[in-house]
Symmetry: C2
Subunit: 451 residues, 2 copies
């Protein structure tokens, strides 16, 4: 399906951020890049971008971008960009003769809105507008600037910035048929060259359907305040429901702060994965060297690696650079890193005593952690199928394992006198060994009983 994106406006309220609104950076990508990549991720592939103000510069930028990211992109030029965004839509009239998606180049929104909207059935003379019913709950909008709509049933009956009676906001996300062009022409003939003008004409004929975006976010990036809100929203969205407790409350808040800076650089997610792995290797080597100082240093490095390990995925998501290989590469390096760290820690505990029990427990921790990762995917998939999404799946994630090691080092140092009586590093390994293997055995039994 084709996708028409309006990027012709000037955006004077953001002029101090750059002289072309579509090129204003937001977490490592310009607004127009983000809109296109978001739509691409939602499944669209053939992009038509209307440029106007500072058009040459924007088009030059887009040419580079489409080449680098391998995106099919057609330029549409609207010299009358200052006269109202309806004319930008009209400029595409000859190129779009089937249904298409219409987006604003400066709106940031949840990809899942588009995923659903693009598959909506639409009849020949209709336009579907994604609307936000959360008019009280939405703190992301600028109430003076937002376009309001009045929806009755599933039909939009009125639209405009200044209408008195409304029950939803216009999100600027449309599924259109070519019927939109005639409507804008009609509206323009009577003096209103805005897109809303065209929509109003169709609305009066009952040809505009409202599409509920539900709880998904959208934001019109019109001023610095909105830019800040968009940044905060995108960063907040990096949290994952699958994050373990340590990840959620400790690692993720830190890694997101780091990612915020890293997205401005060209550092690749795979490089971050590798860096995290190298930190773990150095940490493991510190454990091998022995002694409290090296132990603490190793544990700090391991915990730092655990934090940084969140950044690869965050950068990949923020910059739409996630690949199948990247996810695989990260998982493989994580497994190696886990094993190295646990081996180093085992040797740290074992070498001063030569007690084979320490060696065995360390070995059980290594195999147990490994099996946790090995069985997790299959188990989770199976449990979802059997028990539905709501079920809490028993697991001890990498975040908890790494933090256990870290904690044992911190506490061991703090109560050095305790160190001789209570072997905290050993207890850390023992904890990992017991929990990890218990999880595995429990998974086996649950699957067997439900299988």
């Amino acid at each position: 399906m084709k996708c028409l994106i309006l990027a012709a406006g000037r955006g004077s309220r953001l002029s101090d951020k750059g002289d072309s609104k579509p090129l204003i950076p937001l977490l490592g990508l310009s607004l127009i890049e983000r809109t296109i990549l978001n739509a691409k991720k939602a499944g669209l592939s053939d992009f038509h971008v209307v440029t106007g103000y500072n058009g040459e510069k924007v088009r030059h930028f887009l040419d580079e971008f489409s080449r680098k990211r391998n995106i099919e992109l057609t330029h549409i030029i609207n010299e009358e960009w200052s006269k109202g965004n309806g004319l930008s839509v009209l400029a595409a009239k000859d190129l779009l003769n089937e249904k298409f998606i219409l987006l604003m180049g400066d709106h940031v929104f949840d990809e899942s809105i588009l995923v659903r909207l693009k598959d909506e059935r639409i009849s020949e003379h209709e336009v579907i507008l994604a609307v936000d019913y959360g008019i009280d709950a939405n703190t992301l909008i600028d109430i003076d600037d937002v376009t309001k709509v009045l929806v009755g049933g599933d039909r939009i009956s009125d639209i405009g910035k200044d209408i008195k009676k409304y029950n939803a906001y216009d999100t600027g996300i449309f599924l259109c048929t070519p019927a939109i062009f005639g409507a804008i022409e009609q509206s323009a003939a009577s003096g209103d060259t805005s897109l809303s003008g065209g929509i109003r004409i169709l609305a009066e004929k009952g040809q505009v359907r409202a599409f509920d975006i539900r709880n998904n976010f959208w934001i019109d990036v019109d001023d610095e305040e909105a830019l800040r809100k968009a940044r905060r929203k995108l960063l907040g969205g990096l949290k994952k429901t699958s994050d373990g407790p340590i990840s959620r409350y400790l690692n993720r808040p830190i890694s997101i702060r780091i990612s915020k800076y890293l997205v401005r650089t060209d550092i690749s997610p795979n490089f971050i994965s590798f860096l995290s792995f190298i930190l773990c290797c150095i940490g493991a080597f510190c454990f091998y060297l022995g002694g409290h100082t090296y132990f603490l240093l190793g544990a700090i490095l391991a915990q730092a690696a655990s934090v940084i390990d969140g950044c690869d995925g965050e950068i990949a998501r923020l910059k739409f650079r996630g690949t199948e290989f990247g996810a695989w590469f990260d998982a493989v390096l994580d497994r190696y890193a886990d094993a190295f760290l646990l081996f180093g820690l085992t040797y740290f505990v074992y070498s001063p005593t030569g007690n084979i029990l320490y060696l065995f427990v360390g070995f059980m921790a290594i195999i147990g952690s490994f099996m946790n990762s090995y069985t997790a995917d299959k188990y989770d998939g199976f449990m979802k199928k059997k028990l539905g999404e709501k079920e809490q799946f028993l697991r001890m994630g990498r975040d908890v394992r790494m933090f256990t090691i870290f904690l044992s080092a911190i506490l061991d140092l703090r109560f050095l006198t305790l160190g001789d009586k209570v072997n905290l590093p050993f207890l850390a390994i023992l904890f990992v060994a017991i929990v990890a293997n218990t999880v595995n055995v429990k998974r086996m039994f649950i699957l067997y009983k439900n299988g």
Copy 2:
């Protein structure tokens, strides 16, 4: 789609194997069970079975079977079973008014024939017969007893046991429309009550299409010779293309011989998986105990476990008892078993010397083997997508790992004097560590370059 199965005949040539042909056992299942389960695996679910000779006993058996295996099964009784198999088909006339699959209860065949056949398009008055064009190559048939067909283009023009001119065999696997009933009635009216008689009537009108079974096997189990051939064919089919070299030439030939006996018992595939795991645990404990005798014993147990580990899957496939859980359970236990064995072996090598290098190499072997399994699925899937099926995927399977340990024990014992100069068990671990990790790193590079 409904499936009609003929199981009314007497099968006098196999009467010394039992007084009901459908109940004659073949590798742990009766012929009729195998036919039904095979068809179920191919995607059929609603079975109609025509019984005749010794019908009460067969129906009683089938009731038990359908309850145990949760299969929808309708009995059709043909008291005139001795008069020709066309009447068995006719007995189902009132129950089948859409297209259906027709099978002989005593034919054993490759499930993939049915997988393809059931999706063939068929017009209203047509019958499709799966035929075997390999009339010279097929060593499974009894040339005097087989029904021959003459195919021109895709139409069958003649059929019968004694026709002179033919170019294919009738495999007894049909996709029918209710047109078959009228044809059999017409044939019976003129004295021929056989199914072939009905087919001949349709063939004369050009309404019988031939369906090529290609290289898939089928066999009509009519006498002891055919029963032997079927057994051999089914056992031979247990080899997997994914088998490693040791598995293919050493383990599989032995495990198939064992499975041949085990299928007669009620031993479950999961129990075999568990048994193999326990053998590995004992083997690992032998390694831990140290000394050449225990080392050899441990290695023999490990290799025996590696052989037996083939039986679970073989029994599951032979008796159609494969489950998602079973495959997962086996994989998880294999990983644990591998790790225990390598840990035992590492300790065996390490404990007399206290050389940390041995410990590290052993650890690398454990992590490397593990990662081989962890990365294999994703890697193979990815490579298939990218490079097609033909590509040879670099791998060192479990069979090779286990055999390396076994070999080092055998050779170490044989050249005991060598034992002091060349540490064969250590070399075995070193070999596993290097190969396994090299495979992993190579996979990463291949995926990165192709990603």
